[in-house]
Symmetry: D2
Subunit: 149 residues, 4 copies
Amino acid sequence: MGIIGVIGGSQVSSEIYRLAYEVGREIGKRGHILVNGGLSGVMEASAKGAKEEGGLVVGILPGHSKESANPWVDIPVVTGMGEARNVIIVRTADVLIAIDGRYGTLSEIAFALVFGKPVIGLRTWECDFPIIRVETPGQAVEEAEKFLK
Amino acid sequence: MGIIGVIGGSQVSSEIYRLAYEVGREIGKRGHILVNGGLSGVMEASAKGAKEEGGLVVGILPGHSKESANPWVDIPVVTGMGEARNVIIVRTADVLIAIDGRYGTLSEIAFALVFGKPVIGLRTWECDFPIIRVETPGQAVEEAEKFLK
Amino acid sequence: MGIIGVIGGSQVSSEIYRLAYEVGREIGKRGHILVNGGLSGVMEASAKGAKEEGGLVVGILPGHSKESANPWVDIPVVTGMGEARNVIIVRTADVLIAIDGRYGTLSEIAFALVFGKPVIGLRTWECDFPIIRVETPGQAVEEAEKFLK
Amino acid sequence: MGIIGVIGGSQVSSEIYRLAYEVGREIGKRGHILVNGGLSGVMEASAKGAKEEGGLVVGILPGHSKESANPWVDIPVVTGMGEARNVIIVRTADVLIAIDGRYGTLSEIAFALVFGKPVIGLRTWECDFPIIRVETPGQAVEEAEKFLK
């Protein structure tokens, strides 16, 4: 059992939303804690999936109020620190799954690599960095689990 | 149900440890989430109490690794931000209970007052500020509950 | 020469404003760097005083834009981290002068004591903590200078 | 006149060190403020160059003490927040010049893009993002100046 971070954009296509939801379901089903940024898009979809399978969801929020969290967050951690909260998501997760995403997600992948945390990538940034690329939500969580004790 | 923050020193007498433990037990018994700084002293004692009653404990850690958390923390939130994490404890809690404590605790009481969060004080700082003073762990959690919906 | 932090409220009486302005003038005159929170009240008054004497003013801002800084800030450091920036003001200063102030100032005094930094108090919080109390702006800066190499 | 951020690795080849030094000289010569992370490598080289031309250097430090700053930093801003300080460098700069660099630099480029700040790239990350690529230190500072009022 471990803490899996899911990172990705706040505005996504319905296809990406579905993928993130499936990733969340797999995480919940397998009894892991999900940590993410607590807002919309990939954050919301993965939280929803995890909750529907009985998982526990931690949302590390950038703003000043827990009201900004999506309805599937169990534990809203209110930082009031804006994008600096990305660092906390990455440090809190044992392993990260990146799905789609724009520059915020790129900052999180970068921090994961700074801290030596493994990153599993599902339709995400293609730069010259060592992340593990997968094709399906199931593969993403399977690969992530290899890094958990 | 709500999120109750417990703040207090990392090095405490056995009497204060016992008080913090009883506060944690009351929080766990009543089904609230406990958030604190995740380390020793009041943080450890309250976490232990809450866990023994089946509660959920969130530890907002100052350091770079979840290994620094005491054994009763369920969710170690790893900030890597040192004492700036005090702000996050206060923002995350709906209401705070301050037990004993030195300057770090004083910074947390001060932030709670900045953010307009209620503070219940049990043998803690006596300055000219509006916190609610109580005499026992039971009273502390009862007073705290009045601020939860 | 050193870095002197000036902390105090953002809304102050004209008397306190004048005291903070005089403290800023003394800091500027003696060639020290002034660091503060960059906004109004004591922050503005001390910055204005320092600038008028040719000093250098660093404003550690809580918000997302340098436009929030008062006009006497030379170096606006934009944190986007809200009140967590109080920690940075305290860590950056070699010594702090607290003037008046409410809960935010109290949090800064508390952090200074956590980090072992000297605090000179001019009409500020009266709690049971070891700060050096003075009566005039001149005394405040003289006492602060004793801690600078 | 403006605040130019220079980002890049802490461990660099002598060729990159020289490029960063030249970028710093151009910044100092033209009267801009240089902000960077205050440590070694690109941070040190650019600070050295700027100081030799009479510029002002602000170092936003990750650690707990100003002693970690390189000798060419005029204003050591001590955050104690680890890599979260990368956000502050980016927010404080009006425009950024990225030179070489690894994952920390990538996080800074990503934050600049999140915040809508222009990034000039000199031998740095090649991902699919909109940064302005240049070949020489002189071009880097010229391009950066176009974004300053």
